[in-house]
Symmetry: C2
Subunit: 154 residues, 2 copies
DNA sequence: TTGCTTGCAAATTTTTTGCAAAAAC
DNA sequence: GTTTTTGCAAAAAATTTGCAAGCAA
């Protein structure tokens, strides 16, 4: 999972990991920077990016590229899927049972060698489904760009 | 699917659509620009982007955000999935039978309202699976960034 | 000490925008 | 003729990189 020189334990690396550990909000790099900045006011965004990459290489966190062209980071490394609320923008972890997951055998029969797959579901989260037409959409985590309206987000 | 003033038919719009029509290679904007540029040497990249957006709004093509933070465009508007070859970078359309697709009912039971979902599969395409360890990976369509090694691309 | 890591600034990459001129209808 | 679209250049937004100085081992 890693090659090259062994990594050193720096305050910056530790804090970047701490900022993400146990969090299920799938923050983007700048949000993580904001969090770490409170502990280490001199840290730079570049260092946050570099440490996020380090953590990904070490398998401690994962990068999520869910379709808004901005990388999100997830400390949940177990296999799981994601649900994106089209109203509030929140990204939730979703654990579908293995048996309920996708049958990819037709691909294998077709000559493809499958290593992994990714499933992202779109719709309304529980909170927003409740509020249905009461309040107007809040763009919580992220601005849903004009484009994302008619997009296949993969 | 559209609002605002009705669109005018320009040579630029026509050529952008032609450049994509019937193509299954999922090109990025710059590749489309390159193609159209042969026909209309004075076209600008901005115009290509604007026309791609127009075509998406009209439902003639789709935007694919598959995880490399670069938008791809697909003239195939029927519901389908994608396979990304981790060796050559090629993106293939994949049509899995409805019955074989994902059972999302657990989500509904959990209070989520599902509108769409997206499935992307990773592995080796037929061509590369044949060549297995003969030739070294070519980064055909796109550079697989270092990051994409340990990423959940969704 | 050695050499990986940081902070800062500048560079990259992809996409969007402002605006006057050109093209559609 | 009026209104949309284009081309060009500049702006934005996200991420990466060069480099001297700082720190971990």
């Amino acid at each position: 999972m890693r090659r090259g020189p062994r990594k050193r334990t720096t305050r910056q690396l530790e804090q970047v990991f701490k900022a993400l550990h146990g969090d299920h909000s799938h923050p983007i790099a700048h949000e993580i920077y904001r969090r770490v900045h409170k502990k280490l006011p001199r840290i730079s965004l570049a260092t946050v990016y570099r440490n996020l990459h380090t953590l990904v290489e070490e398998g401690k966190i994962r990068t999520l590229l869910l379709g808004d062209q901005v990388a999100r980071y997830d400390p949940e490394t177990r296999e799981h899927d994601h649900f994106i609320c089209e109203r509030c923008g929140r990204v939730s972890d979703v654990f579908l049972k293995r048996a309920r997951r996708i049958d990819l055998s037709p691909l294998a029969r077709d000559g493809y060698v499958v290593t992994t797959h990714n499933l992202t579901v779109y719709g309304m989260c529980r909170v927003c489904a409740g509020r249905r037409r009461t309040s107007k959409p809040s763009r919580a985590a992220r601005k849903p760009s004009v484009r994302t309206m008619a997009v296949i987000r993969g």
